[in-house]
């Protein structure tokens, strides 16, 4: 007979294995994926260099993350570190600065649009329709304006993250229950107090989601710009590996990049849940 007893709980029998069925399935899936990869690598079905064995990739990873091959000077001290961390630092700073600039502008404009229906009706649709356009095509313009250094990459990041943040801030403003705003007005709060004590706390979730999205696109915009025209950064490392046909290194950089990106995204996601 079919059950809808949602209050009933199945009890764990004594002596259940400590790995849940979900974890076991995940291990099996991972094993199958790696196994298939190795088979393809060993069989030479695809060009051997395109699908290097996991061992080769592992070695490249260790070398990438552990082999000190770059001399840096830090506060008067000379250090040798794996070059990757320096490139990572470059990229992270570019993305961070881009997020800060684009985020602040996005938040400010978003709050304004959310609060003022006239301005919103006048301008918001431009932003809405410009949002899903490929920002990388603006890169030549950014180079013209900011040069070939990190500034143009920061500009790419800023441009990319501005749109999701401004749109979620504007939408976030509008979804604040009007009663909360009336409470603020009844206490005669000034604009600054309204923003910091009512609007921003009430908008926490949409803003964090907007920032999460913004972070993702800022990362993509900055990294793609680095692959196009740069001599440093993680994006540069990827295209450099391509140019030198060092496939294991490319895989290693890509894997590390994805892990970092997913990790950053998860952290911000946790922050939105408070």
């Amino acid at each position: 007979m079919a059950q809808t007893g949602h209050l009933t709980r199945t009890s764990m029998a004594a002596g259940e294995p400590w790995l849940s069925p979900v974890t076991r399935l995940r291990i099996i899936i991972l094993g199958a994926v790696i196994g298939t990869w190795e088979l393809v690598a060993a069989s030479g079905l695809l060009l051997r260099d395109v699908v290097p064995s996991t061992l080769t990739i592992g070695r490249a990873l260790v070398e990438l993350l552990g082999h000190p091959d770059l001399k840096v000077t830090l506060a008067g001290y000379v250090l040798w570190i794996p070059a990757f961390y320096w490139h990572l630092y470059v990229t992270v700073s570019e993305v961070a600065i881009g997020l800060v600039i684009g985020g602040t502008m996005g938040l400010a404009v978003g709050l304004l649009l959310g609060a003022n229906p006239f301005l919103a009706k006048a301008f918001e649709r431009f932003l809405y329709y410009l949002g899903p356009t490929p920002k990388i095509v603006f890169f030549p313009v950014m180079i013209m304006w900011f040069g070939v250094g990190p500034e143009s990459k920061i500009a790419m990041g800023t441009l990319s993250c501005f749109f999701p943040i401004v749109l979620s801030a504007a939408a976030g403003m509008r979804q604040i229950e009007s009663v909360l705003i009336r409470v603020g007005r009844s206490f005669r709060l000034n604009t600054w107090q309204m923003v910091t004590k009512i609007y921003l706390p009430a908008m926490r979730e949409p803003i964090v989601n907007g920032v999460r999205l913004g972070m993702g696109v800022a990362m993509i915009g900055t990294l793609l710009a680095e692959t196009k025209l740069s001599n440093k950064g993680v994006g540069f490392m990827i295209i450099d590996a391509y140019n030198t046909f060092d496939m294991p290194r490319m895989y290693a950089v890509l894997l590390t990049l994805f892990v970092i990106a997913i990790g950053a995204n998860t952290l911000v996601g946790r922050a939105s849940r408070g």
């Binding site: 079919a2 809808t4 069925p21 979900v22 399935l25 995940r26 899936i29 695809l46 260099d49 395109v50 006239f118 301005l119 919103a120 009706k121 006048a122 301008f123 649709r125 431009f126 329709y129 410009l130 899903p132 356009t133 490929p134 990388i136 095509v137 603006f138 890169f139 030549p140 313009v141 013209m144 304006w145 993702g216 990362m219 993509i220 990294l223 793609l224 692959t227 196009k228 994006g235 990827i238 295209i239 590996a241 391509y242 046909f245 496939m247 490319m250 895989y251 890509l254 990049l257 994805f258 990106a261 997913i262 995204n265 998860t266």
Partner: protein, 256 residues
């Protein structure tokens, strides 16, 4: 208020917005002519407009447009079929869904398009590199939305099906799937938009293809007004695509 007055009132902000935009463009034109802005960094808007004609005539804008569209269509087809099928398969088994859903969500947040140099090695400088990159990077949202739609079926609708003694197959096709369709369409549309963005982006980066490649080529030739004009084309196509898919989505969801 009369209907005419309401229309006028609604139109005012829109007209204001457009007017501001035109005013900004006019201001830029004036500032450049006065020498306050360097015309080698920001070309005169009038120059940009004039180069439109040149671009259309000399740069094969129509074949380029069709190439980009063709790539987008191919990628969209692949992602719809693969994305919905994978979503349906993952949904069938609760344990598979629990094991893999977070992984798919994680992959969705990774900058997959950065793999384009890898695909360059595999497929060479060809349309297939572009299509495959778009396919791979736009797949996760389709899978996730399919899963979301199927799992999000309201329990009361399932109970209605059970009370009418539907077979599991009938329950799936007559209740679960139709209930999930609106969300699935949202996923497909999202996927198509990501695909187009990545297609134009990669065309630009690898200097192959249609509209994206045009921007890159003109930039490399230092044809500044042309570059700006080409960027305008890209924006136009992107906006039209976005609006078009939005209309289709609304048409497919009756009563929404």
């Amino acid at each position: 208020m009369s209907a005419g007055a309401t229309i006028r009132r609604e139109a005012v902000p829109i007209v204001f917005g457009v007017a501001c935009l035109l005013a900004l463009v006019a201001l830029i034109e004036v500032l450049i002519r006065m020498g306050w802005i360097n015309p080698f960094i920001v070309p005169k808007p009038t120059d940009i407009v004039m180069s439109f004609e040149r671009i259309i005539m000399e740069e094969n804008i129509l074949p380029r447009f069709f190439l980009t569209c063709g790539e987008a269509l191919m990628a969209s087809l692949m992602l719809s079929v693969a994305g919905i099928s994978i979503g349906v398969l993952l949904h069938r088994s609760r344990i598979v869904r629990l094991a893999t859903e977070t992984w798919v969500a994680a992959v969705a947040s990774a900058p997959l398009v950065l793999m384009y140099p890898l695909f360059l090695v595999i497929f060479g400088r060809s349309a297939w590199t572009i299509i495959m990159i778009a396919f791979v990077s736009a797949l996760p949202p389709v899978i996730l939305k399919t899963l979301e739609g199927l799992s999000g079926t309201r329990p009361v609708l399932i109970n209605v099906g059970r009370s009418f003694k539907l077979t599991p197959s009938q329950l799936y096709w007559k209740i679960l799937f139709p209930s999930a369709l609106p969300t699935i369409f949202v996923g497909v549309r999202l996927g198509m938009i990501f695909a187009l963005i990545n297609i134009v982006g990669v065309e630009f980066l690898i200097n192959f293809g249609g509209l994206g490649q045009l921007v890159n080529e003109l930039a490399e030739r230092y044809d500044l007004p042309g570059t700006y004009a080409a960027i305008c084309f890209v924006i136009l196509v992107s906006v039209l695509f976005f609006i078009g898919t939005e209309r289709i989505e609304r048409w497919l969801r009756p009563g929404t």
